[in-house]
Subunit: 189 residues, 2 copies
DNA sequence: GCATAAATGTACCGTAGAGTACACACTAAA
DNA sequence: TTTAGTGTGTACTCTACGGTACATTTATGC
């Protein structure tokens, strides 16, 4: 095996941050080599399909993280209120209280979406479904639960846009807090 | 003057759609010549600073449109409720009921933001300020008005992300409807 | 130690990128 | 009818891009 004990999964966080910062189109291979510390040789060894495969790996990693740390808990926690609270905590942590953007959301906006269609689609579908499920088990009617879940996921994404546009992460924190209150207030608020 | 009576302002809509579709980094000059029907000669005649200046012109055009059709009405309409209703109508129209993304929001997410920092910042500042003002005049307390305005602008942006990620414009329509109801319900809801 | 396979660095390829130079076309006013 | 200025097309530069080829290095199981 090699000198630098690099493994494929080791570089995925760095890849993610590179794509976050520059977008898919704007993220050049030279930037990627810089950020990961890996030369083209290693990169194409781990990701034979190049940039496309790198981004797919990052998206899969993101999906996996959310599935484990957010969606599964929303779905399976015996106390749905606890699952919802946990979701807001984890989301706040993941997006660094508004200092980090959502890669999937960013990819969704331009034609990058077409390259990763199913992944982008499934990420948001899974999120809204899992949240709606938890809200329903927490007392919301089916329809209200679906609507509220949609509002909350949209609100989180929009808060990230707003926070970054203003270069003010506190916007995210504020919006997130109010979304949480709405989710926990119960169906009749 | 020239054979084709093209004017600078004529190409701005086409430029906007090109940037929307590909993002700033992903939008090549050859794509721009294709979409506008103008050769490099004409483009650099109208926009000597190149792509940067083209995008600035588009952002200025967007800002101008919103100032005229949304912000001014929010601020100046004698009936603030009418201003708010009008905002939701115009926003729905502008974003083609969810089939079109927000260019400013898209630029905000990656490092494109840095190129257009003040423009991006001011767009959202102006929007939230004007909306908060209308909400306040419509009966919301100052603090509630500010918070609700933030939630609504974020909600709109997030709804655009969600709609495009799902390739389902109706998500946007649904979220927008609920945001409008919240805005019009009054401060005690 | 030696074979094997996993990593790695370097040099290279063709292409497409943004931007420039400039001659030409056209129009309108003098 | 000249002239001046505004568009426009073409050809060009130079750079950076994504990707490939391949020889070389390294670690480990044998």
């Amino acid at each position: 095996m090699p000198r630098e004990i690099a493994e494929r999964c080791d570089v995925i966080p760095a890849l993610g941050e590179a794509f976050r910062e520059h977008g898919f189109a704007g993220c050049s291979l030279s930037e990627i080599t810089r950020r990961t510390g890996l030369g083209k040789g290693s990169l194409y060894h781990f990701f034979p399909e190049g940039k496309q495969e790198m981004a797919e790996a990052v998206l899969d990693d993101v999906a996996n993280w959310f599935e484990t740390n957010v969606f599964a808990i929303l779905r399976e926690s015996p106390d749905p209120g606890h699952g919802i609270t946990k979701m807001f905590e984890e989301v706040d942590r993941y997006f660094r209280s508004g200092k980090r953007i959502c890669l999937v959301g960013a990819f969704a906006l331009d034609d990058t979406r077409d390259r990763f269609e199913t992944r982008v689609n499934e990420y948001f579908t899974a999120w809204t479904r899992a949240l709606a499920d938890a809200l329903k088990r927490n007392g919301f009617a089916a329809r209200e639960a679906r609507e509220t879940a949609e509002d909350i996921v949209a609100g989180i994404q929009g808060a990230l846009v707003l926070a970054r546009s203003q270069d003010d992460p506190t916007v995210f924190t504020r919006v997130l807090k109010r979304l949480r209150e709405r989710a926990m207030a119960g169906p009749d608020q």
